[in-house]
Amino acid sequence: MTTFLAQRSARRALLGAAAAAALAAPLTPALAGKADDTLTFAFEQEVEALNFYQSTSRDGVILSRLIWDTLIWRDPYTGDYKPLLATSWTWVDNVTIDFELREGVTFHNGETFDADDVVFTFNYFPSPEAKTKSQQTVSWIKGAEKLGDYKVRLHLKNPFPAALEFLASPLPIYPDEYMAEVGQDGMEKNPIGTGPYKVANVVRGETIEFVKNDGYFPNDAKGAPQIGKLVMRTLPDKNTQLAELMTGGIDWMWKVEVDQAEGLRSMPDLTVVDAETMRIGYLGFDAAGTSGDHPLTNVKVRQALSHAIDRQAIVDNLFPGGARVVNSACFPEQFGCEQDVTAYDHDPEKARALLAEAGFPDGFDMTLDVYRNREMAEAMIGDLAKVGVDATMNYGKYAAIRDAVRSGGSQAGYLTWGSNSIGDISASTSVFFKGGADDIYQDPEVTEWLTTGDTSTDPEVRKDVYSKALKKIAAEAYWLPLWSYPYTYAFTSDLDFTPTSDEIPHFALARWK
């Protein structure tokens, strides 16, 4: 590692000093791929922080799975919870969980994993001094206490049905002694976990390299890592990623777009796979008129727009494959996501009739806020134009659009939601309709149903109230749920990689063919 670092910095110095000097020493990049047991994958964004608790990005979650482990593992293929750092767990009551911990696990720096690490993690990160970036992940934890060297008790603030889901994902266990020594800054510079890969080298803005942790503890969840070296490259442009993939500069990319996928499928050395995720797209209408008085406050108008848009045609033509139309305001496989709700089929005639009934026979002007998938937004605007509604696209950054929606400055927004990959409706519908900051509807009936559902532990009660809420949301056409977002992956055919629905590529589970 040191030699590599030296090499790197020498290279940088060379480039920085004078380009002319570099003329003398052309450097060719190392060949990646199966031949030298290195899997190079590309992400669009550079992770904000390797120290997981200071990051909220999806890519941070993905990398955290390499470096650290969680107490519980949620099998991405079956959805079952399996033991990882905890060998078993029991609910003592609805606000207390006991864990038996695995023995014989060591961190990358040799520190032994035991109850102290777990207690530290669950006491420190929920505390204000830790400044944990995603408060949502830790705010439900009251604290942990040590019951033995390998036994821990976790206290919850309130009953929290999604606790296991959280313990299996955004709560990696940190080494307490190392943290006491270096703190969060030290963890950022040199991350240490128990995970299947160790961080070998970081060139900010460019690459992060991981090497296999040969001492990774045997387990039935993540198994043993197979590929020797992983390299993450930051390539912000999809097009650049594609060019690199075609020329062997990277071995793996995801979120391939429709026209790229078509071309890639014809290339013999590449495998192209579509896999569904929990992300759904939706049009959120300002039904309550928080952005001023406009036609969208009329339910007939919202229904008309819902009938005007040909969701199926967009799914068929603008997605590489694997997408489907959704009708409920949640991801269909989430717990409680009732499917039997009003479905708005594509029917321009009906749309025009509804507009006429609502008093807008000649249509009207509106704005549509958009932060991604311009093409799909354009297609929808085209469909609206066919029934006389003139929608202007306002394309902005996610934050600006979300801000506008929240503060009532948006008539209609084309947004998406990934539920943080949590398979429960409390992570989707409840975020937008339970009276919280993102709820622009403030429908008391829906809020009450969702509140009941989110706090009840009886599955039948939950299903029943969620069903009522979703039916009302659909009937009122607060949202037009659009489609699920499959991701299309493209990678070298040498690689054995199975995409999963949790929007997390599990590189630790990949192997060469």
Partner: protein, 305 residues
Amino acid sequence: MLGFLLKRAALALAVAVTVSIISFLLLRASGDIAVAVAGEGATEADIEAIRIQFGFDRPLIVQYFEWAGNALTGDLGQSVYFRVPVVELIGERMPVTMGLGALALVFAVALSIPLGVAAALRPNSIIDRLSLWIAVLGQAMPSFWFALLLMLVMGVWWRWLPISGAGGFDHYIMPAIALGYYATPAIMRLTRAGMIEVLESDYIRTAHAKGLGTGKVLFKHALRNAVIPVVSLAAVQFGFMLSGSIVIESIFALPGVGHLAWISLQRSDFTVVQGIVLMLSVIYILMALVADLFNAWLDPRIRVA
């Protein structure tokens, strides 16, 4: 000379202060930064915590003076996204941008000076027109389009050059061409004009009369004199290239300052964008100052202007 120097330095300073105010206000006007910082899954509590942590809740003027005061001591604040000092981020990436700018300038100069000289030797000839055309084509080429074409042809079709990243020298060739071509016409014209003027001057005629060979006259006397103004133009062009590197670095995924600016803008990491605007402006101001002083030193008439 001292008076001139002081006057110029005062101007440069006033400009730097103005730029700092503009860049500060510009980025503060954009939406609720805390929402952007918090990211997609954030709750209202997350956002509020960030607002207080970064001091976004205080009056603008207080925030400006704190920022500007710190900037004087070399502290441009913390990146809201990375949570590390902006200076550190810029420092890490400056070598890439400087390397790219330098190489682009080398490319521009290597192309335009021979063209300019060739054109000046035979004004209004075919060579003159041809070299003007080559240069003019560069000025009309949208750089992002040129960059994509280079990537398509030299990277994907022919596989001559690596497509992206900053691995080695070869990674810089396409970006440098795409960035440097735009600057060629200006340098070429100036070389051409300078050469014509020098070639018609008395002392070159004298040199010829003394029987010195054409090649020697051309390179030893004429070019050396004609190139002097080109040097100061090139210094300023370098400043422009740093700005142009935003598009080019993004296309070729070069982890430089331009790219950092672009992605920071996309994720509303305004402390970084402010820092970069300020940094690029200061570099430009210094370059222009040096160029001015250089010109004044060469040509005393300017000093009184």
